[in-house]
């Protein structure tokens, strides 16, 4: 661990087994001499030979000599004002000296280690601790993991649901802002730190501005497109439940009615499937959306919607489909957004094949049509 996170191991080691080494290694020795900012450093200094890996097993060997010294220093400076060198300084320091030759083998099974760490937290922090232990290396960007911010937002959502009256309405509106700002805040801190560590000073200002604006635009695009997607689904739902749909259905032949019933059951299954995807990966979410739109399109082909309603339904489906595809691409990051002009040629007739990393919240505005 170093006083400045971004100046040392900014990239994750390619060897997966060593993934957690930076966080667990007792060899990390950083004597920080910061004048400002926060420094949290771990120091284990016993002429040690420590090999640690959180992912597989936490194990190591401490080796010391007669004059060996073992100690750990945790220094935390929490300034009230990051740029005025004022603040609260909290320091915890433990020092132990060994007067005899020491060689102790340290072996700790991963699950035991996890349980011990998790045991120090409760409630929502325990959930975040699990994500921390999964990543276990700060330099790789814990905040960059969508699951970390999503877990915090989900916790806020749970508590907003317990509020009532005007408080709940105001909190729900503020929650929308939180959904965009919290992931942006955490990820920006990581991305900027890593970015600036590799940039010459004269280029840092422009590079930082572009980076943070790009992150915001990505979040804003996704938020806007989710609303557009909801708008499309709302239209689809309203058209499904219209009186003209019922009239059209009653005018169909018995065989056609059977086909439509079968289609509606397929739509019902697709909606139920979509409804189970609370925080699905993008590919799963988009596939479930496409399945719903396909089922609705089949209803159009089988004549459930007559006259202008059929055209309106197609337009609503097109709106929902295009928004869903763009949401998926916006969530996948800047490199995917550059390819946003490449649409599949036939809407709602093919499933996406590309993998995604960002979890997607399931849409909540699609419900089973009254006709079903």
């Amino acid at each position: 661990m170093n006083a400045e996170l971004f100046s040392i191991t900014a990239s994750t080691p390619a060897d997966g087994r060593r993934h957690g080494a930076a966080a667990a290694s007792g060899r990390a020795s950083a004597s920080a001499a910061l004048e400002r900012g926060l420094d949290l450093s771990a120091r284990v200094e016993i002429g040690a030979n420590v090999d640690a890996s959180i992912r597989d097993q936490v194990s190591g060997t401490f080796t010391g000599g007669v004059a060996g010294k073992a100690g750990i220093a945790l220094q935390a400076k929490f300034p009230l004002d990051l740029f005025r060198e004022a603040g609260i300084i909290a320091r915890v320091q433990a020092q132990a000296e060994a007067g005899a030759y020491l060689r102790a083998a340290l072996g700790l099974e991963l699950q035991v280690f996890r349980d011990l760490v998790r045991g120090q937290f409760e409630g929502p922090l325990r959930e975040l601790c699990d994500i921390f232990l999964e990543e276990a290396v700060v330099e790789a960007g814990l905040w960059a993991r969508a699951a970390f911010a999503a877990e915090i937002v989900a916790e806020a959502e749970r508590h907003v649901a317990t509020l009532s009256g005007p408080d709940r309405d105001a909190a729900a509106e503020a929650l929308t802002i939180l959904r965009i700002l919290l992931p942006l805040a955490g990820r920006s801190a990581f991305e900027l730190g890593v970015l600036l560590a590799g940039q010459p000073p004269q280029q840092q200002k422009d590079a930082a501005a572009r980076s943070v604006v790009r992150s915001f635009v990505g979040e804003a695009q996704e938020l806007l497109l989710r609303h557009v997607f909801d708008l499309g689904l709302t239209k689809v739902r309203d058209l499904h439940g219209g009186e003209s749909t019922r009239t059209t259905f009653e005018g169909l032949t018995g065989e056609a009615q059977d086909r439509v019933r079968s289609d509606l059951l397929a739509l019902k299954d697709a909606i139920v499937r979509l409804d189970t995807l609370e925080h699905a990966r993008g590919s799963e979410w988009l596939a479930a959306v496409v399945a719903c739109l396909e089922a609705t399109e089949t209803l159009v082909e089988h004549g459930l919607f007559g006259g202008t309603v059929a055209d309106e339904m197609k337009q609503a489906l097109a709106l929902a489909w295009s928004a869903a595809v763009l949401v998926d691409r916006a969530a996948a990051g800047p490199s995917r957004r550059q390819e946003a002009s490449c649409f599949p040629p036939v809407p709602w007739l093919r499933s996406p094949t590309t993998a995604r990393s960002a979890p997607m919240s399931a849409p909540r505005s699609l419900s089973l049509p009254a006709a079903v």
Partner: protein, 189 residues
Amino acid sequence: MVGVDLVAELRAMAPAVADTIDWLEAAVAALPDQDLVHELLVSLSAIDQQSANALLASMGEAFGQAIHDRVLPDLILPIQQADPQNQALAALLDDVMVPTLTALPGVVLEHIPDLGSEDVGRRFREALSAVLLQSLGQFLVATIDVLLAHALDEGTQSLREASEAVGQFGEQSPGFSLFARPRPERCCR
């Protein structure tokens, strides 16, 4: 999405959506395009330096206002007040959520325009480290704490075993036991 006034239709969906649209429009107010959908999905799909610099200012103002006027009083405070005894929740809000949120306009966006020298860059990175460690520090401390406690337990056991081994060696070699036996207490009065 062509031929449809999406912004108007979105505003009509629900007050919360209209509120979000207003907020997004304020955040990109520095740009000349008046249509939010076109702005976000077309104009900003490729961000040039001029737009980035212009947006930085309007984003900082909109974010700071939203956090201090909306998120903190309308969301964080009611959640805390609804469950004042919940210490785990308080830790999540006070140690993770609020510092990270407030740092975005107050630290990140506000000081990007100051960048340009080695010293400012270093101070900026330290500040970013502080923001991150404010939320992640407790997990790091817990992790190191467990490792240290285990190491000390193991070390104690090893010393005890080494002591026994030396004692047994002393019994087998009486001459060496002169060096190996425990020292008498210093403060015998």
